[in-house]
Chain length 375, copies 2
Amino acid sequence: MLKQYLLTPGPTPIPPQVALKEALPIIHHRTDEFSAIYKDISEDLKYIFQTKNNIYTVACSGTGVMEMAVVNLLSPNDEILVASCGNFGDRWIKISQAYGVKIVSISVEWGKTVDPLQVQKALKENTNIKAVFTTLVETSTGVVNDIKSIGKIVSATNAIFAVDAISGLVGQEFKTDLWKADVVICTSQKGFMLAPGLAFITLSDKAWKLVESSKIPKFYFDIKKYKNLTNATPFTPPVTLIVSLQEAIKLIKEKRIENIWNDCRVLAKAARAGMQALGLKLFAEVPCDVLTSAIVPENIGEKIVKTLRKKYGVSIAGGHGDWKDKIVRFSHMGYICKADLLVGFSCLEMVLSELGLSIEKGKSVAAVEEELLKD
Amino acid sequence: MLKQYLLTPGPTPIPPQVALKEALPIIHHRTDEFSAIYKDISEDLKYIFQTKNNIYTVACSGTGVMEMAVVNLLSPNDEILVASCGNFGDRWIKISQAYGVKIVSISVEWGKTVDPLQVQKALKENTNIKAVFTTLVETSTGVVNDIKSIGKIVSATNAIFAVDAISGLVGQEFKTDLWKADVVICTSQKGFMLAPGLAFITLSDKAWKLVESSKIPKFYFDIKKYKNLTNATPFTPPVTLIVSLQEAIKLIKEKRIENIWNDCRVLAKAARAGMQALGLKLFAEVPCDVLTSAIVPENIGEKIVKTLRKKYGVSIAGGHGDWKDKIVRFSHMGYICKADLLVGFSCLEMVLSELGLSIEKGKSVAAVEEELLKD
């Protein structure tokens, strides 16, 4: 009977009309009916990614589709540049290491953002770099990177530019073609308001050239198997998830992507005001629009997360790695509205109060309200 | 308004109570609630696989989990034996080829079954073979292989025995440990009565030893990342599919696996009688219990499949490869009951009649009924 509020950065809440599509009688994936749906979502994904290139849908998690980018673009001993500012940036490094790729890395302190000029410097110093990998929104810290500026820099070289847009896409403004991102990957369980299980990847012509020379062995993730299929997948797809994706995309299209970006901006501004009203320091140097992270005192991060969930049904996230107990992360991407944010902050006030912090009740809620009313 | 009857060998129909679980509000995968579900299904999967070893759940299609077996067991230039009798047996070859593995293959004519003595002979002639790969039920032909006898032969050697049980498991009698299968893989969309998107893999101690020496690079499919996790997955799992899997497993456990094997045997016997009453020759030399394949005259396989779906909402499958237009395949695994079989055969009678074949109406239905009544 405890009503649940999922304010975590993936999975995010699924709108009921989308969730119900998952429960419809399953259809076969080698039929005209499914092909029409697949063709439809593949076209609409181009709009959401803001690209003219094809988007391929794969059955795997985010890590799977990151690996798909690595194994299709590179060969062993190729040199790459990874610009990482957190846990998921580091994953590009771990995956590439598993395939014997040589890595030049820019490792930014957690909470800070990648400096485009550092990318430029690294590319000048290492002229053999085949690809630059980075992250749009670093979920572990709540930072957004300046993809537009990095894209401009990388596009002036022979290297291709690969962006993990898993946490950012849909909620955070992002323009694949305009910002010169050659490879973009995403998954279903964040801005898409869907269950996990689907992943997406798109490649520019410049990236496809690299695919041709790639010598890393692969089969399931071999993007050439997907390339010429516009109304089918090479292997059995997660049919029910794709059917529900069509419904989620319908909602996104009706609302228009620019309006979703704007809504997230409003929620993010309000969430930051709320955190500051609680006396909590924001963790992200350049905060993204889809989640808000703040430093909590006395290492009570995990305690806050557990108490919120247990007593009020409100799920937020704690920190990763060294920041495990020291920050909280509050998501506002996908199917999260103004009222949810107010629930989150009022319950957070109660929990902080219960945990002995001197909190002025209602103060963060007032700050959130004030920002929301400006919209 | 056209009611749909899905008699295809994957996806198979999903029971409404299982499908509805997919539509429940999504829960977070790093919570006690999800861990309890994951632990629960992992234990119950052991019962379904008939093994004492752990089962790992992965987000991918069947091909993905086949690749997971290959890349974790082998190193480039290792020698393996593939005993293939159809399209999915051949997939073991294609995946292994992509990783530079040396392949000795036993290729059986489609419709025939793998001869265990041929496996024995090949193992004697090729003493360096590290692993033998085969298929429980070859979906493309409807044949079941004698896994028990092959397992006995392979277990007497140093090679490990890997079985693709995707189409067979749950419906077709199968005993991982007793039959000495070292690696068994399966997916969610066949006997498990679930949507596609989940895959399963289990390994014996003998197989784990091979994993230790494997030199094929991998990351997402690296089974060591899954090994010591009994209540979580290393990467974000398809939460809604796992929640619905718990419900499907509940149904399987309530019915008991031996009773499901028996039900499939009864349906298979009835389906074969039905095909023969229509004057159609059975395609499988040793037919499995989960699907029935029959040769259709005058290359009208695709026409039958399309007409059945369009006019009566009944989906069956045609042939693969060279047999594309020459056979039909009628599934009776998972959530398919006696009444569905009768719908299938009566509509098939009408379609064959419409397509100009001289069919005695009611004859195949009578034959099916007669077999069903013996149960």
